[in-house]
């Protein structure tokens, strides 16, 4: 029977939703689903992982597992994999997911498939390539377990109400020791308003907003609509207008809200990857040739500095906010 494992990104404040997406998919592929949850927050994650279909959860709350290189986590996972021989390990396309999967590939010599959007079987993955314009089906060969890194939100998480057995894991030190990277300082970006993950509406701004002040126009509209998160293109993030946590696209978040509104964003492939799954797409851009217009249900060609305030006013008029 196929044995699919998933890597769960855990933190003291909870499990990342990606773990539930992966567990749901793993259940669909085959037999027992093992989840690996390493680092502070792991033991609290067992119940929620069980609820989403994991039957076994390998856990350790040890602090050493979250050092910045992910070497300790990767070698601990490698030892588990050697002992239990899963056929596939699914990872999220997250910071830790990449670091752990990348390291694990170096240890086990098994192949790592990135940007996957589906897993038809233990040796087949479907992946989005060329900026999401093409979908390929790839046969996975070589030593098991195959490592597959899934694009966020490729599956709807589905709670089945199961329970998982927790298995305590011993931390494995990598050759040459651990903790070679010291953290000198940590700054958390304060999240204001609804998160990109859950919001029904996402308003995203790009270079066309002209500066940090331009984002005020989006905030005003967000306040008028309610349950709305603000996102950004990489151009706006790289310019330092807004924090990286707001970036949508290949290197940032993937969102699938009911409505996605892009203002002053051209719609480069790398941006489109993170938003084209949205239910409805609205785009406001000056450039009638901008690729974002080809993704939009409603494209408005014109100056966002005129259009956005008018929309805010119209929404306020209808909602009375």
């Amino acid at each position: 029977m196929t044995r699919v494992w998933i890597w769960a990104d855990v933190a003291p404040d909870g499990v990342a939703p990606s773990a539930f997406e992966l567990a749901t998919k793993a259940r669909a592929v085959g037999g027992d689903v093992g989840a690996v949850a390493l680092g502070p927050g792991a033991s609290e994650a067992v119940e929620a992982l069980g609820d989403h279909g994991a039957t076994l959860v390998y856990t350790s709350d040890d602090e050493r597992l979250v050092e910045p290189t992910s070497r300790v986590a990767a070698h601990t996972l490698a030892a588990l994999v050697a002992e239990h021989a899963p056929d596939v390990v699914l990872f999220p396309s997250s910071y830790r997911g990449r670091d752990v999967a990348g390291r694990l590939q170096g240890v086990t010599g098994s192949t790592l498939m990135a940007n996957a959007v589906d897993l038809p079987s233990a040796d087949r993955a479907r992946a989005e390539i060329l900026g999401g314009t093409t979908i390929v089906e790839v046969a996975l060969e070589g030593p098991r377990p195959h490592l597959v890194m899934m694009r966020p939100r490729s599956f709807e998480p589905d709670a089945v109400g199961g329970t998982a057995e927790a298995v305590a894991v011993d931390v494995v030190d990598p050759p040459g020791g651990s903790s070679e990277v010291r953290v000198l300082e940590r700054t958390e970006t304060a999240a204001s308003g609804p998160s990109l993950d859950g919001a029904k509406v996402v308003l995203a701004g790009g270079r066309g907003l002209g500066g940090p002040d331009g984002f005020r126009l989006l905030e005003e509209l967000a306040a008028a609509i309610g349950d709305t998160a603000i996102g950004a293109s990489r151009a706006a993030v790289d310019a330092g207008w807004v924090p990286y946590a707001m970036q949508i696209g290949q290197t940032g978040a993937t969102v699938k809200p009911e409505v996605y509104l892009a203002a002053g964003i051209s719609g480069a492939l790398q941006h489109a990857v993170g938003m084209k799954g949205s239910r409805r797409i609205v785009a406001i851009t000056k450039d009638p040739e901008a690729p974002i217009l080809r993704l939009a249900d409603l494209g408005v060609v014109g100056d966002l500095f005129h259009v956005l305030p008018a929309v805010t006013e119209e929404v306020r008029r209808r909602t009375g906010r």
Partner: protein, 255 residues
């Protein structure tokens, strides 16, 4: 200080690359260049050796045309280049690429290996991390700035929650975002000088790699275009635009 910067040749960095009948990326004959994402780390590395002394080398695996990417790195100011080319590497997966680059780097013993967070064409973002594991190096990923202070690497990095300032002793590997430096444009003098800089072209045998080491374990069996959007409407921003957007919000039941 000896810094090795990974440089990747990518087809059509500004356009849309395509797949050939064998489902592999069309590389030969495509209009390619050094991956723009690699120029940021290269620029920062050049700044560091210009300040502290030392040497930057640019290291790549790719087809014959990839020499253009190496040459661009040399024109920007790197002292030497390494390019590994072999027919057996066509269709290489990230594990194979990491093995090849690891072998090419082992003899150079760099103090610091610099790569981009992800490439423009493959964008797996895992190659440098696998490489670090094979070389037994600590890695700092997603750096938005980095500096070398004596035998120590210092970097600011993005994390899921915010940012982190980290330090680690050399040798180490760092992956960088576009924030680390503004790449210089190669001068004419730089372009001329590049022509006489050494480019090492080791064979797989030179690197101690056999057939089994370079056999890819991923095979594309089919490819199809992702479904395109249909039925969208584009209007001019006139007096009705705001009402149309509000109508769509209402239809979606979000207002």
């Amino acid at each position: 200080m000896n810094i090795a910067v990974l440089v990747k040749w990518v087809p059509e960095p500004q356009g849309t690359p395509s797949l050939g009948p064998d489902h592999l990326l069309v590389r030969e004959g495509a209009d390619g260049a050094l991956d723009p994402g690699d120029e940021y780390g290269l620029e920062r590395s050049l700044q560091l050796v210009e300040r502290d002394g030392g040497e930057v080398s640019v290291v790549s695996m790719g087809p014959e045309v990839a020499l253009a990417a190496v040459q661009r790195g040399l024109a920007m100011g790197a002292s030497r280049g390494v390019l590994v080319t072999d027919d057996a590497l066509r269709g290489a997966d990230t594990l194979v690429t990491a093995r090849v680059l690891a072998s090419a780097l082992r003899s150079a013993e760099p103090d610091l290996v610099v790569a981009a967070v992800e490439s423009t064409d493959g964008y797996t973002g895992t190659l440098p991390i696998t490489l670090a594991e094979l070389l037994g190096l600590p890695s700092v990923t997603f750096a938005t700035s980095f500096d070398v202070d004596g035998a120590e690497l210092r970097a600011e990095r993005q994390t899921a929650a915010g940012t982190e300032a980290v330090a680690c002793s050399l040798p180490a590997l760092v992956t960088v975002t576009t924030g680390v430096a503004e790449p210089r444009y190669p001068s004419l003098k730089g372009v001329m000088a590049a022509k006489s800089k050494p480019v090492d072209r080791p064979s797989l045998t030179d690197l101690g790699l056999g057939e089994d080491d370079v056999r890819p374990a991923q095979r594309v069996v089919s490819a199809e275009a992702a479904p395109a959007k249909t039925g969208g409407r584009v209007i001019e921003a006139g007096p009705d635009a705001a009402a149309e957007i509000a109508d769509l919000l209402a239809e979606a039941r979000v207002i």
